[in-house]
Symmetry: D2
Subunit: 286 residues, 4 copies
């Protein structure tokens, strides 16, 4: 057994019942797969079983085409909701930004350093400011001038771009615009970084409000975007101590370091298919 070679990963949610671990493990074993990671969670209140199973494809008897149909026959009687992913499928990301470059540069650095395995064909922005960074990394940059009047039309064009480029995940890397429910409805795979320890200071100017309130710790939150602003399922959070000596610019500076790290962790967890959403919460099989 080695860690090399491609793997498949199943993410499954289903009503809790006896024998689930055995049934899923048997599906892999009977087809000649070697499980290298299996984790599960039972929410007893919700009566829900959630699991992530990753196995080596080397020696697995089912072709990729066959896997889905074959697993469907296991999943159906269990009323399981599931997805399957292959580690050698390179996901395609679109980065949405405004003027701040810290999260963008951090993601691009991690991408170059192979911490994030993905293709990044496009950066979308409502400002021109970060165009040079896109150019430096040889990524197409699309500028959308946004007004109340043109927002729907512009978002329609953005969605078209996402389709054209076969984007799997949108990352709002300090995109200072609220997406319409229509956009989110059409493209639901979106991760946002919010510059506060949600649910504290949801909404605008969190660092100003944190300073005003005199908190002793500030935070950042990465979450999936839903129609309810700042209310989507939380993937990752982290915090840093502050004191009366920290001015608002200090909070912003310290916060940037948090935002970079928290967003990067969330993106990495998502791309490794370690995050399962249920209700408004996540299970993170880290």
């Amino acid at each position: 057994m080695s860690m090399n070679g491609s793997t498949a990963t199943l993410l499954i949610s289903c009503p809790d019942q006896q024998g689930l671990v055995a049934k899923f493990a048997n599906f892999i074993y009977d087809n000649g797969g070697n499980i290298i990671h299996a984790d599960q969670h039972t929410d007893f209140e919700a009566g829900l079983f959630l699991t992530r199973i990753e196995w080596q494809l080397n020696g697995f008897k089912l072709s990729r085409d066959m896997m889905a149909s074959s697993f469907a026959s296991v999943a159906k009687p269990l009323q399981a909701v599931w997805e399957i992913h292959f580690s050698d499928t390179i996901p395609r990301l679109a980065l949405f930004v405004t003027k701040q470059d810290h999260c963008l540069l951090d993601l691009l650095w991690r991408w170059q350093a192979k911490e994030i395995r993905a293709d990044i064909p496009l950066i979308i922005s409502n400002h021109e400011k970060l165009k040079a960074i896109a150019k430096q990394f040889d990524i197409d940059f699309y500028h959308f001038n946004l007004t109340k009047e043109n927002k729907n039309r512009q978002e329609a064009r953005q969605l078209e771009l996402l389709r054209e480029h076969r984007i799997n995940l949108v990352i709002l890397a300090k995109y200072m615009q609220i997406l319409t429910p229509e956009f989110i409805n059409h493209f639901p795979h979106i991760i946002n970084i919010h510059h506060s320890f949600l649910p504290a200071f949801a909404g605008a100017k969190p660092y100003h409000r944190a300073h005003e309130r005199g908190v002793k710790i500030i935070g950042a939150t990465a979450h999936y975007v839903t129609a309810d602003l700042d209310e989507g399922p939380i993937i990752e959070q982290d915090v840093v101590r502050v004191s009366h000596r920290d001015t608002i610019p200090d909070l912003i500076r310290k916060g940037k370091d948090l935002e970079r790290v928290v967003l990067a962790r969330a993106v990495r967890l998502h791309l490794q298919h370690r995050v399962l959403v249920y209700g408004n919460r996540t299970v993170v099989f880290a």
Copy 2:
């Protein structure tokens, strides 16, 4: 110079202006005092200067009676608000509790271990449950049955007890009752421990709401009590990571460890006269 012997501590707020550090230091030096701790903070927005100065009384030329009147003549032209404290004055605490014992036992353990230097003549509770602990530590225990109808009357009796026992500080060590504005008005020196990372989850059942929201970190907050529930100046906060595996009882258990430590730190900082309130914020000269 040694660290032994009694000290005096001045806590001063005044409009910012040139020469404040020199003027206050000269007051100490001219009277033969040796400063062992001096810290300051300038809030430029508010135009406010705040400082804490501690010096050794050994060799100081002014008697304690004289100090106040003598410093008043320095402070007055500067429009300074100030207080003076002596390290050998033992503060007197009253602990308010309900049914949970973790913060109470923790404070009493620290008190026995001399981490907290104070007299604790009384424990007040709206339940009988923790009476045995009071007895074990040889502290008077007062039980107040509280109803909507008798609350004002009972609080009046509580205030009388505080006066009788010359209490300097009330600690709400998991006191599950809201004090009336009248009580707070009569006795403004009150520290509370709130079982969340304020301003997130202010109000009731924070751990249930943290679980519902799916946060990845929970916290606890020690603050001075004001008429606005959970809105008083924050003294100290701390946090701990949680995951989807943590049930509500797990959050409560982890939270208790935070509450104990955060409350103890806040009480210690207050008793060492390291906390200066201004507006709704604190400066903590730690």
Copy 3:
């Protein structure tokens, strides 16, 4: 499915190979058990598979007597090393202390609060100082005067006490004595709390050396005891920030808060059978 009722837990290590998850899960499922927690880890370097499986006994077809022999026939061909535990077996602890009471009182408080489910029939000490605490909690207290000359004889008597009281786990809750390899050999289930962030400052007076070195963070480490002092497998660690303002007594005070929490977490993880030792490391299925 509910979370109530007794459970069985298997802790298994074996050479990695295909089908392990399936085989273990089938053993449970075929006998009518419902898995409520399953976690695993593969160490690819060592070619080792480690797992923890917990299932509900309600409805399980094998009697407790039968389980071991029945699972042995699954385990043997896989060369698996394993242990089985039942959640309704109350473990029996012995606490070893010297003069410091913070870890002892903390464990006893958690025991009373039912955070730690165990019987604690005896406290052993090389000093008389903490006798009153044992009495307060109605636990037998054995004082052993220790000298170079009598150490082996006294340890033999201690081991006899552990046998008599059918002790499962010894907790060194600030026991300032080095156990002989013979003792550890006879009774290998021992958890110690070391007052530093191991491997930094192994050995004596870690806070003094941390202060001397000018570190900005101090820590505490809970580990299993082996014949190599402070070198046993680490179960849990935590840290706290310090500064130049912290004197050695401050470090000791801050360190006590760490020691209490880190030891309590380690004991809890051990008693829930969440810790698997391999080589000199632990897997913690938290």
Copy 4:
């Protein structure tokens, strides 16, 4: 009073005695300066007083040339060691790197974002790998091929470069070479980032050894470089939790995020003249 305009900062160490705060504050006040930050520390064991005083130059009566000679007459009778810095003097940094780019890119990003106010005229490396980054930021890049035989000669050339470019601070941003005592002797202002929580895992391959030891937390340490490898005064440290799931590459990846932040904080503190070294320790007036 506003926060704008240039400031002067005094860093002073001297034997502890009465009146020091007053004497230093009077020097500022008598010359028309407004103190905006004053912090102090007394090490009672060492009998040492250390302070940092920052004041606004606007309105200060002494010219910069006069300040030093004028303050010398205050300092001399107190046997004070001191330095004076002006906030509008832009410090000049040299970055030493090898092959890893994370600390280099992070510092350069902060430099561009004006978090670090400095001139960076040159990058020195023992490899060619990071040349392109130097070019991208328009900084001179000097490659030194290093062998046992040529090391002294090459270091002499490096020192010459530092002189030519009037460098104030060398930052070892993952420079995988040990500087000779001669180099350090000639140029003592050097900050290094070590990829462990010193003093744990001093020396080579700390992440491998942390993995081997099975620690539950890893760290990074920024320190001044002295002739004793990894033994210099610590400026800043931070940590992150790890588990058995983290492979050595995971520790390296997590460690990089720590290294970036810890080094950046240390550089910032140094450049704001907030760090005072005494003995082998630092006082950080943060």
